[in-house]
Subunit: 330 residues, 2 copies
Amino acid sequence: MKLGSLKAGGRDGTLVVVSRDLRRAVPAAQAAATLQGALDRWAEASPILAGIADRLEAGLLPNALALEPAMLAAPLPRAYQFVDGSAYVVHVELVRRARGVELPPSFWRDPLMYQGGSDGFLGPTDPIPLASEDWGIDFEAEVAVITDDVPMGVGTAAAAAHIRLVLLLNDISLRNLIPAELAKGFGFVQSKATSSFAPVAVTPDELGPAWRDGKLHRPLLSFRNGEPFGRPDAGTDMVFDFPALIAHAARTRRLGAGTIIGSGTVANRDPAVGASCIAERRTRELLADGRATTPFLRFGERVRIEMLDDAGASLFGAIDQAVVRYEPPA
Amino acid sequence: MKLGSLKAGGRDGTLVVVSRDLRRAVPAAQAAATLQGALDRWAEASPILAGIADRLEAGLLPNALALEPAMLAAPLPRAYQFVDGSAYVVHVELVRRARGVELPPSFWRDPLMYQGGSDGFLGPTDPIPLASEDWGIDFEAEVAVITDDVPMGVGTAAAAAHIRLVLLLNDISLRNLIPAELAKGFGFVQSKATSSFAPVAVTPDELGPAWRDGKLHRPLLSFRNGEPFGRPDAGTDMVFDFPALIAHAARTRRLGAGTIIGSGTVANRDPAVGASCIAERRTRELLADGRATTPFLRFGERVRIEMLDDAGASLFGAIDQAVVRYEPPA
């Protein structure tokens, strides 16, 4: 099934079950008022949600809403936790090589992961407000999962059963703020802006054979101002699958229901598929030509991120956003 | 006023107004079911809460509960955001000096801050479950504030008005996991365990003259197995006040209501006042004697963190916890 959150109803939105074709939605208050509420008691809520989804697909809910992407917030409009891995190590290796730094061999065994902000996310078509183009505005197209409650010290095999929903996200990054912040060693605070999410969260079973081995096996499509930018397959070159990322995050603490675990920027070794962020394209330019020519985003530019099934239908709906100038308070 | 969350009522507990002497509590459902709910609509909820607090102090609520610390969860049992600064730069300087590393001059101007986990906190008397003593189990006694909604790009002067509540916390740290994790540059994931909080969150006005200049001016008392460990004044040697920490966190994104901003380990330049964590005491031992002799915590050991007013009464109630052995799932 596919779940979303209407912007109506408060800070956490209103939980809706969305049709497979993303055209219709029905509130699901019988299950829970919000998606976080459903995740808090998933064992009871999910069968009710599945029943609604079945009736919706069968055409038995004629009062379903006609859904427009702008009606939707992020599936979790705010979350208690977002940790983001760097599972596509080829991306990390490329960026380091451009800086003349060798990749530590441990990076192939021990996931790189950071604690991200989760107190508010942008909806799929919300503008991206930022105060300065000088920050080096970039997108990062990623896959993510939402877990239920995960016990501390969970093993990788057991972690797979805690994956409840799959998402797409844009982990908006401010490239020119990153070097100084990472040099301090404490991770990202200012150099990651508010992230945005595709319209719906999808259960693994709904993804069929595209979801296997703890990975999502489909190309992740990125567009800049309507032009194709990247189409790496999210199931290729993912060195750490989602269960491994969950086990890493849960080594010394439990993870609360509704935890979002990101894959990091999806990247393939094959340069023909392009990149899921501008920084990686710039890195390839630098390595090939000695200089990076693709600029970071400017106000008014648009980013679109989407994943299609075999038949060309959108699985999660599209992230489709413009960067806009933000005036800070006086 | 003083606010807490009973463990009853679900994952977010039940909001209670607590008497000044911490002995009695009354549910405050007229204002909000949970503290997060009150923070989400603070302008409407806080006058109702203040009215309850007045009636409670006046002895007009004879049905108030007799409060025991074990009845309480953390004031926010889970939160949408926790960012933790290192505002007592003397602590950072000491730790670096012990490693033979000079403090970058920028650390006196630009706050060190990391994004912490917030998906679940320990209550004030909950045991601290950890799987291995080899991780180097340490406490960090800190002050924190909770904000309402903070606009992106807020200035330091305007940030002060967004402080709604003040807290004490134990930022439990796994010292032997920190060097490898910080070397990766992405901050803390495994090397910070679940944090715990003192029983009540207190409004700045309730703290009287102890709250001024965006800092809390009282000694923060730490005890290990009942023995005094440290008593640095939280208002002394705090290089970045809370408004400055809020402005730093909000530079490139808004902060959602209920954001917790930590001070970092409270530390004074004066060695006579002791330390708010074992690592700092070990650092002073290393610098003085060439070796650190105070061990990190072992299973069964207790940590107590508290702050008293002029008359010796507890302002926030005490964090009083034992470290216990945790068996990971098979």
